[in-house]
């Protein structure tokens, strides 16, 4: 039996196909409501934290299926500190730096135990999960603390008026938004052309047709989403931050030496160490970075909610972990990509939203999410089994 190209395509892009199917199913069952501009907008705003946390979580998972259970608590903790600083009337930059800095410190603290003392990540971060949940309570004194700083909300938020303003004042259609979408698509196309010509020149084997197909589909998608958002209020501020983080980390994981080391450590730690790589530093960086991104997630979560509460962030770590695994990261480490994270987080967000629109209770939503996670990992496991 030969592997047909169709079967290969399906295998390689299982979750993309699943995403498309889910969108189609919900479009039908919600009578197209899920594709309304406002709903697409909400999808991004509501799930901003998942994209950010899952990006950090991916690096931890890459190092060998290690997870960070503390991120939900750390998000809450940094949220609380950010809220208190803003409430005291201090400048925004101080609140942002404090949240990021404290997140980073927490990450470094946990990373230290994991990397240099060999405390199992599960336990080190479970400790962090309890500790920072408690400290969030302490910091907030058990109360909810509101944020009134409009500028902060506008810069980081996904709330009512947190959008990139339309500099061209389009009538019912946000021209800035469409413009940015088109620019992004053009940049993508230019990069594809450049890549192809370099590869052809150096005689590197590649498949131009497939690469072009991918570029065209993604460009089209960007423009469609931009158009949809333009019909509503434009680009939510948080989307800019998410995009920035995904681009930066996508680049780091794919093109830098340190990014490569995350994969190498997860693939075979001993071999990596014997290749002259400081593997302890790699573990440390994964967790320090997770803390930093948890701090950032705290900022956008605060801007979205408009206030901090000691109960916020519960279960965020699980959303992040699930997004990674649904997006094809291996539970044993060494395999997984940022594009997978995007797909995983989007898939979960769409399922949530679709069911909400249909009026299905949150309890069922959770059950369905669990099922999706199981099926996603099952697909991964089975497709590997076939090879062996």
């Amino acid at each position: 039996m030969k592997n047909s190209p169709v079967l290969n395509f399906v295998k390689k892009n299982t979750m993309v196909i699943a995403l498309v199917l889910v969108v189609i199913i919900f479009s039908i069952s919600t009578g197209g409501k899920i594709l309304f501009a406002q709903n697409i907008n909400n999808l991004i705003s509501q799930n901003g934290y998942v994209f950010v946390l899952a990006t950090g979580m991916l690096l931890c998972i890459l190092t060998g299926g290690n997870i960070d259970l503390s991120v939900g608590s750390v998000v809450c903790f940094t949220m609380g500190i950010g809220a208190l600083i803003l409430k005291s009337g201090a400048p925004i930059i101080l609140a942002v730096l404090a949240s990021l800095g404290i997140g980073l410190l927490v990450g470094m603290f946990q990373g230290f135990w994991i990397a240099w003392v060999s405390v199992p990540p599960f336990i080190a971060t479970l400790a962090g999960m309890y500790a920072f949940r408690g400290l969030s309570n302490v910091v907030l004194g058990g109360y909810s603390v509101g944020v009134n700083n409009e500028t902060f909300l506008k810069i980081f938020g996904g709330g009512a008026d947190c959008y990139i303003p339309d500099f061209f004042h389009g009538n019912g259609l946000n021209i800035t938004c469409i413009g940015l979408g088109v620019i992004a698509a053009v940049i993508l196309i230019i990069m594809t052309i450049r890549n192809q010509s370099i590869r052809s020149k150096l005689g590197i084997a590649h498949n131009p047709a497939a690469e072009w197909a991918k570029t065209i589909v993604i460009s089209a998608l960007i423009i469609v989403i931009a158009y949809k958002l333009a019909q509503y209020k434009g680009i939510p501020s948080v989307l800019i931050w998410i995009a920035l983080i995904l681009l930066v980390y996508g680049y780091i994981t794919a093109n830098t030496a340190i990014g490569r080391y995350f994969y190498a450590v997860g693939g075979n730690e001993k071999a990596t160490r014997l290749s002259g790589v400081n593997t302890k530093r790699v573990y440390f960086l994964a967790y320090a970075n997770m803390g930093l991104l948890a701090g950032f997630a705290g900022i956008i979560a605060l801007a979205r909610a408009g206030h901090a509460e000691p109960t916020y962030g519960v279960g965020y770590e699980m959303d992040a972990i699930a997004a990674c695994f649904i997006g094809g990261a291996s539970a044993y480490g060494g395999v997984g990509r940022i594009t997978g994270v995007i797909i995983g987080a989007a898939l979960m967000g769409i399922i949530n939203q679709g069911m909400s629109i249909m009026g299905i209770s949150a309890n069922y939503q959770s059950a369905v999410k669990g099922l999706v996670l199981l099926v996603a990992v099952l697909v991964d496991v089975l497709s590997k089994k076939e090879k062996a």
Binding site: L202, I204, S275, G276
Partner: protein, 513 residues
């Protein structure tokens, strides 16, 4: 003529895309030792997996006739209940469990719920005695050496009432002494009427132990050679395996130009990382010159790998004392392999899957790993250049693969070894420490690896080759160190070295002379 115990008739087994076995016929007589030989991937293991029910009835074509009846095995349990027991190459023992627990794992003694430990240990002790082990079956497996663990595997098989015992590479991780003991044990079993099939790459063992030798090549049985009178030599077997006479198993060392001393170790002493009271490398001094191939021969457990890894940036054990000089200058590699690589030392591990390669990544990514910095500009990898480098080494080392994007886990042992070599050659070392560079790879690939070693030496690199295969050490080295029980017990130029005087050196050192 003795009774035919097992006959495999017209066996054909197809995997997606490949015909692993093509109309194979294989007969084993009762009470004989039958060797199954062939290059890696020839189909030996597949054939045994068909026999033992790992590939259940219906997934292959043809018949298995055992003891006069056609058998349809669906699981390993089915074949074991008939007395066909296979001992796999990788030891399948749980280190933290006792020998007895291991022997009856999945085959527990006692009634439904409770295990009868008295019976378990009493029976286990009985079988241990049969394989010549004096250990109590209550000792934990991790406390005994690999050689004894292999014997435990055999005892475990006996405990299953084996009538036909299949041993897959039983000596691949044993030293010469333990190997010989194991082979003699097999000959002892034969006298008691046991039938055995042995799969091995070590042809001297085949010639020594087997009554019949069946050669498998490209999924087909080529011939069965009668060795009842022990008159078959290795060359005859190799001829069958590769389909031509390998006039020379080792390439000639040409244009040998030996220069200055490159790396020198003096009074090197290393303690075990977990049990510091154990000295694993004891006062070792050695040196290697530019363009020279230095062999370190020693039995497994002599401390060779420990020595090599501790020289390589102290990646093993606790260094107690000793100096390391490179080009005459003392250096300290501050407990890091990074430092060792900077000082142009490379260590090519004996354990390519465990310590050497990332099986889940591509050839390309494995090739560049030890010298990624040279491909990176401010941490950003030039991936196009990386691809070209991987291609270059694929060409140079003749690695057989459709593309350098292929996952290393999908390659054969010989090709994996080439990727491992490529990785360290790309790190551009001056000194290469090769630890068992040809372990578990077939005759053809071995020859190619030898050629690469010779090329490296000819290019002025210093090569230290650790090996437990005497012919290989003798043929490839310019100078040979002999290591035994943590010490260097002898040094001789290759011109003076013979199998006999090397073994004699080891025996003398063992007596404490």
């Amino acid at each position: 003529m003795a009774k035919i115990l097992l006959e495999m008739k017209n066996i054909t087994k197809t995997f997606p895309g490949v015909k692993a076995l093509d109309n194979v016929n294989f007969q084993v007589e009762e009470g004989e030792i039958h060797a199954l030989v062939g290059e890696n991937g020839a189909g030996k293991s597949t054939l045994m997996n068909v026999l033992s029910g790992i590939y259940p009835f219906g997934t292959y074509e043809g018949d298995i006739i055992y003891n006069g009846e056609v058998c349809k095995f669906n699981t390993i349990k089915d074949s074991e209940s008939k007395g066909i027991v296979i001992i796999h190459q990788e030891l399948a023992l749980v280190p933290e469990m006792s020998i007895g627990e291991n022997m009856y794992l999945g085959n527990e003694r006692g009634r439904k719920a409770a295990i009868d430990w008295n019976t378990t240990y009493a029976e286990a002790d009985k079988y241990l005695k049969m394989v010549g082990l004096s250990e109590s079956s209550k000792v934990r497996v991790k406390e005994i050496g690999t050689g004894k663990q292999q014997l435990v595997e055999i005892a475990k098989a006996l405990a299953k009432n084996a009538k036909l015992l299949i041993l897959d590479e039983p000596t691949s991780s044993l030293n010469e002494e333990d190997s010989r003991a194991l082979l003699d044990l097999m000959l002892g079993f034969k006298k008691q009427g046991m039938t055995m099939i042995i799969i091995t790459h070590k042809l001297n063992e085949v010639a020594y132990v087997a009554d019949k030798i069946t050669v498998v090549r490209d999924g087909a049985t080529i011939e069965t050679i009668d060795n009842t009178n022990r008159d078959i030599d290795e060359d005859r077997i190799i001829k069958g395996m590769v389909g031509r006479e390998l006039t020379n198993r080792f390439p000639k060392r040409e244009g040998v130009q030996i220069g200055e001393v490159n790396l020198e170790v003096e009074h090197w002493t290393v303690r075990h990382p977990l049990y510091p009271e154990r000295i694993v490398v004891n006062d070792v001094s050695l040196n290697v010159r530019k363009g020279e191939v230095v062999g370190i021969y020693g039995l497994m457990g002599a401390g060779r790998t420990e020595l090599a890894m501790s020289i390589f940036g102290q990646s093993y054990g606790i260094l107690e004392g000793g100096t390391l000089k490179i080009d005459g200058k003392p250096v300290t590699l501050k407990k890091s392999t990074t430092d060792a690589i900077k000082h142009k030392i490379a260590y090519v591990t004996e354990d390519r899957k465990g310590n050497g390669l990332i099986l889940s990544q591509s050839i390309k990514i494995n090739t560049s790993l030890a010298n990624l910095d040279s491909l990176a500009n401010h941490m950003v990898i030039d991936k196009d250049r990386e691809y070209q480098v991987a291609e270059e080494y694929r060409d140079k080392l003749k690695t057989k693969t459709p593309s350098v994007e292929q996952l290393v886990g999908n390659l054969s042992g010989g090709n994996q070894q080439k990727v491992l070599l490529a990785k360290w050659m790309f790190a551009e070392p001056d000194v290469l420490i090769l630890d068992e560079p040809t372990r578990g790879i077939d005759v053809g690939a071995k020859y190619e690896i030898y050629c690469i070693i010779n090329d490296l030496a000819a290019a002025g690199k210093s090569v230290i080759m650790i090996s437990s295969e005497l012919p290989e050490v003798l043929a490839m080295s310019d100078r040979i160190y002999i290591m035994n029980a943590s010490r260097i017990v002898g040094e001789m130029p290759a011109s003076e070295a013979t199998q006999e005087n090397i073994m004699a050196t080891i025996l003398r050192s063992g007596r404490g002379d």
